[in-house]
Amino acid sequence: MAGGGGGCVTLGGAQIRDLLDSKHNVLFDCDGVIWNGETAVTGAPEVVSLLKQRGKRVFFVTNNCTRPRENYVQKFSRLGFADVAEEEIFSSAYCSAAYLRDVARLQGKVYVIGCGGVMKELRDAGVPVAEEEDAEPGASIYTCPLDPDVKAVLVGYDENFTFMKLAKACCYLRSSECLFLATDPDPWHPLRGGRVTPGSGSLTAALETASSRKATVIGKPSCFMFDCIASQFGLDPARSLMIGDRLETDVLFGSNCGLTTVLTLTGVSTLQEALAFRDSQEPQQKHCAPDYVMESVADFLQALEE
């Protein structure tokens, strides 16, 4: 089955088997695809196990930058996924650290607007992080000192985001030699019950506006996370499948990297939205239309169990 085309085709039994036969690597988004919050999508653990038994390589590609990889391993285990290894998990936090170490080859420190997950991945990768001084009583946005060793700014989801951090980051970004990275572009994240919380994208927007600079975004839909996996595992895009629930991130990511794309309807985006992208005249929007649509990853089960 040829990849590309963005036709939003609904797959039936035999077609699913043919699709799987033609692919060696399966990349899954997590939230809204294999789990929702603390609940696994029904059938997802079995699908992952069966794919591996069939000799497929399985990877998990998530924009969520709040946890380090070892926490994800624990979550997989908790939710009934057997034997998911840390090496198979690619989060935007992990990939941001890898980018700074391997691609940018950062000489110096990174000033981070982010949470514990990002900090841990940076430490594990050996990337020095600028220390956040405790706010002194007289400190204000007008007088805080800058660390001369900072050569990069990384912005991601940060529940402790403050105006002071925004001002400091903006000062560092005045130097054109200072790199500007963002973990992911997601404007909001879904929580249980249809509620949402502000995402990395909203904080990045503030900093881009303040600095008049555009961030290099590590997470989907940028290809860097795929490059990161490919550099470690040698993936052929033509033999790789991307399964996600968010058209503007997962599907566009797959499309940008030359993968075949599947939208599952257990998360954020709807079939209607997919069709609207398919029928759009704008090329960028057409790239958000998936090749195939499935109700849920559980639809793979029948094909895999035969």
């Binding site: 949402v196 994208g201 904080l203 506006t209």
Partner: protein, 306 residues
């Protein structure tokens, strides 16, 4: 409006321009003061205009002061001015919410005490001013207690801006009936002593991105700022001069409202930028070409004293 544009304002032209207008509207930062220092000659110009029978108004996008606070600052710097001649966005946003949005209820405010005072001054009760650090865990945030009398979110400059405030604003804005207003989109806020910090535009972009909604923006170049002055003082646009230092706010406001426009070079924009706009075919950029430009407003003084 002059048939030719972007003309240097010389002595003779100054006299003619002044005779052709009854009211002069001044931007503040970069035009009559820089931080806490008056531009040399500026107080004399304003005071002289009034002696010549012209009405003078101050129109600023800065939301951190009330009209009275501005009047106090003007007085301290030697300008003869009263609070009712000042139109800052703290005041104008309050008027906008009252008269244009016809707000019946409370407003969730990301902004300053000055904004709170101006809102209370028109009978609107704000909630949310002041520090708001995060507490609880992520799944609590979608369920922060919301005040069910809030019918609008207003975003202005707020040095206490935090993730929690962004989150609260997002929760209110998930209701499509909740109105969304911003004071201005300036990306930098000038401070005393010539420094600058990230401006309201950055905070507004964060909220707009998280909520995936666009705010109604009160400040220049929106014509509301002029309409606010005109409705209280009965101004004829053709007999008004707008004096500013920014092509994209002050001059554009003047163009939008049919005022004569004068660019002063003591602030942000340059003649080169104005001339580049003039050469451009784009109608939006044509609106950012002043009728006249001058090195400093002090240069009008000879024409006034003649």
């Amino acid at each position: 409006m002059a048939a030719s544009k972007c003309t240097r304002l010389t002595g003779v032209l100054s006299r003619q321009l002044l005779d052709s207008v009854d009211s002069v509207l001044f931007d503040c930062d970069g035009v009559i003061w820089r931080g806490d220092q008056a531009i040399p000659g500026a107080p004399e110009v304003i005071n002289s205009l009034k002696k010549n029978g012209k009405r003078v108004f101050f129109v600023t996008n800065n939301s951190t002061k009330t009209r009275q606070m501005y009047a106090d600052k003007l007085g301290k710097l030697g300008f003869d001015a009263s609070a009712d001649e000042v139109f800052g966005t703290a005041y104008c946003s309050a008027v906008y919410l009252k008269n244009v949005c016809k707000l019946d209820g409370k407003v969730y405010l990301i902004g300053s005490n000055a904004m709170r005072q101006e809102l209370e001054g028109v009978g609107i009760r704000p909630v949310g001013v002041g520090p708001d650090p995060v507490s609880g865990v992520q799944k609590d945030w979608a369920n922060v207690p919301l005040d069910n009398e809030v019918r609008a979110v207003l975003v202005g400059f707020d040095e206490h801006f935090s993730y929690m405030k962004l989150n609260r604003a997002l929760q209110y804005l998930c209701n499509p009936d909740c109105q969304f207003v911003g004071t201005n989109t300036d990306t930098r806020l000038p401070l005393e002593g010539g420094k600058a910090v990230p401006g309201t535009g950055c905070l507004l972009r964060a909220v707009e991105t998280a909520a995936q909604r666009k705010a109604q923006v009160v400040g220049k170049p929106n014509i509301f700022m002029f309409e606010c002055v005109a409705s209280q003082f009965g101004l004829d646009p053709e007999r008004c001069l707008m004096v500013g230092d920014r092509l994209d706010t002050d001059i554009m406001l003047g163009s939008n409202c049919g005022l004569k426009t004068l660019l002063t070079l003591t602030g942000v924009s340059t003649v080169a930028e104005a001339e580049a706009n003039q050469k451009c075919e784009c109608p939006q950029r044509q609106k950012m070409v002043p009728d006249y430009y001058i090195e400093s407003i002090a240069d009008i003084l000879p024409a006034l004293q003649a």
